[in-house]
Subunit: 329 residues, 2 copies
DNA sequence: CTGAAAGCGCTTACAG
DNA sequence: CTGAAAGCGCTTACAG
């Protein structure tokens, strides 16, 4: 009553193990008649290939590691879900690594074990970390980040922020605040910021640095709340606020509601990520949707190519975004 | 420049592979001197054991499958996160399976491959499904569900609902509605319902079946919304609503806000699960916290015992809950 | 198109 | 306390 092995099937079918292996792997090298005999034997014995033997012999695990900083923030949960389903669709399995700090995030990439490759949604990684501990497996990065050593799938952050800003300007709003992640006083930079800046410039509206508020990002919702409280306390007037992501927008809306500011009447609020949570808020959150399905599929494709031996320099694929106008602005 | 193997280490240390294996596995059977030589050799060569060889030889993968219906509902995302971190703490790795329908949920349990055991948060499973396809690996169930074939870790659902109901009664509320999951007209049953019923009975308040509203549960938030719209449309008076979980409470609050009903002034609202999302709502959601950390740790412990050979009938561990009173009721 | 044999990198009785 | 050998269940050149 022990599990049947490849040899059992071979004996049952009257052929060699090699032939059974060929049939199981769907390879050529088996006449139709032999193939049929093997398939019958497999069905009769209820044979299922043992992954351990296969892994040891082939050097492939058929498994991909997905690395995210956490699962309690909707963006990462939804991204992980997309990736896992996409990996399964590709006939592989996955292992989800939750890397809650820089050390574990680095280890997940530099010491990946028991997987053919890694897809990482980075939070703390920087290029220089890999000088001493290079990735142990082919690695693809999903989402923005400061690293340039892997293949990258990036979302249209510039495009998204530019379109959000233009959309608010189109409503006649002129005092458009920005809720940003990072230390107070460190000037914003990067694609999202440039999209905001360029849209204002195009409309001839001066960018007021006093309208930029910072959240510390230990928790996205909490830091959006914190940033908005600070912005309100500053006494500056504003009629819209662009938040760097949905989670911070949710925190910001909470602060506005507590202070009795009406959304979108007094202030329009926008997010970025198009999370389910934002869609269910009242008022529902205007946001930018990053086409996460396409991003996940692209990340899996790039990684599989690397696993198959693709060398060459790091590649970058830019995936488009969609503006999702809802009730908040 | 190929990876060093156990034999390389043995040669370097001047001993047999078996001894190296003993040292790596932290087993007795190696003098202090030998152990030191082996450890030096390991460090010198940068040896890391290959999981494939280990798996094939030992019959153990060191990996546990975690099965959830999805990751975009906060309860499942947070539960998966807890489990994965707990599994890692136990020195094992995990593979997260997202089973979006009954067939894949059953397959994840009945045809688990390449793992030592399975922890499932069931959504569609029923006992009779396992008559024909029994679990292929030791399996533990986390959360309530209609199955009795595995070890189960269940939360204090009865206690939680009873305490929530008593809490609302203590505020003087008497018309306490219930937002439930399931088909219209199918009488509610189970621990949560009994907690509600018994608390009302204890207070001498008659249970009004007209105050029970049903959501179809294809999406929790959406079905909470749907159920509340129907309840409001029924014209029945109520001053509180107990929702079967946080996600449905979030949908219900959205409906109340849309209709201009004040929370908690006109109607108190409570959830169940204590999700981060509920805590960030305005007004923040009163809920019951299931001690998810303890549940996850218990599930992992039970499963490891089964993997180690524990036989015996299915066990059940009841984990307590905490009442979390916030602003919504 | 198919076979017999070697080998992937470990662990595990079996000896001593 | 340690060694030599067999074996886990596959795949992969090598032959024919």
């Amino acid at each position: 009553m022990t599990r049947p092995t490849l040899d059992d099937v071979a004996r049952e079918a009257g052929c060699s193990a090699k032939t059974v292996s060929n049939v199981v792997l769907g390879r050529p090298g088996a006449s139709a008649a032999t193939r049929a005999r093997v398939e019958q034997a497999i069905a009769r014995l209820g044979y299922v290939a043992d992954p351990s033997g296969r892994q040891l012999a082939s050097g492939r695990t058929g498994r991909i590691a997905v690395v995210v900083p956490d699962l309690h923030q909707p963006y990462f949960a939804e991204t992980a879900e997309r990736l896992i389903l996409e990996i399964e669709r590709a006939g592989m399995s996955s292992t989800l690594v939750i890397a809650g700090d820089q050390e574990s995030e680095l280890r997940a990439v530099a010491s990946a074990q028991d997987v053919d490759g890694v897809i990482v949604c980075p939070h703390w990684l920087r290029d220089d970390l890999f000088d001493r501990s290079p990735p142990s497996r082919p690695t693809v990065q999903l989402g923005s980040g400061p690293t340039r050593v892997f293949d990258r799938v990036v979302m249209g952050e510039y495009e998204g922020f530019r379109r959000l800003t233009s959309h608010l300007l189109g409503q006649g709003r002129r005092r458009i605040a920005l809720i940003w992640t990072g230390a107070e006083g460190v000037a914003p930079e990067g694609a999202r910021y440039e999209g905001y800046r360029d849209a204002l410039e195009e409309a001839g509206v001066a960018l007021d640095p006093g309208l930029i508020a910072f959240g510390s990002d230990w928790d996205r919702r909490a830091s959006g709340f914190e940033a908005m409280i600070a912005l309100l306390a500053s006494g500056r007037r504003f009629d819209a606020v662009l938040c760097v992501n949905d989670a911070m927008a949710i925190g910001a809306m909470r602060a506005l509601r507590m202070r009795g500011v009406r959304v979108p009447g007094d202030v329009a609020v926008t997010g970025f990520d198009d999370t389910v949570e934002g869609a269910h808020l009242v008022p529902s959150l205007t946001s930018v949707s990053p086409r996460t399905g396409e991003m996940a599929a692209t990340a899996v494709r790039l990684l599989r190519e690397r696993v198959e031996g693709e060398s060459g320099p790091p590649r970058e694929v830019l995936v488009g975004v969609d503006l999702i106008v809802r009730d908040s602005g």
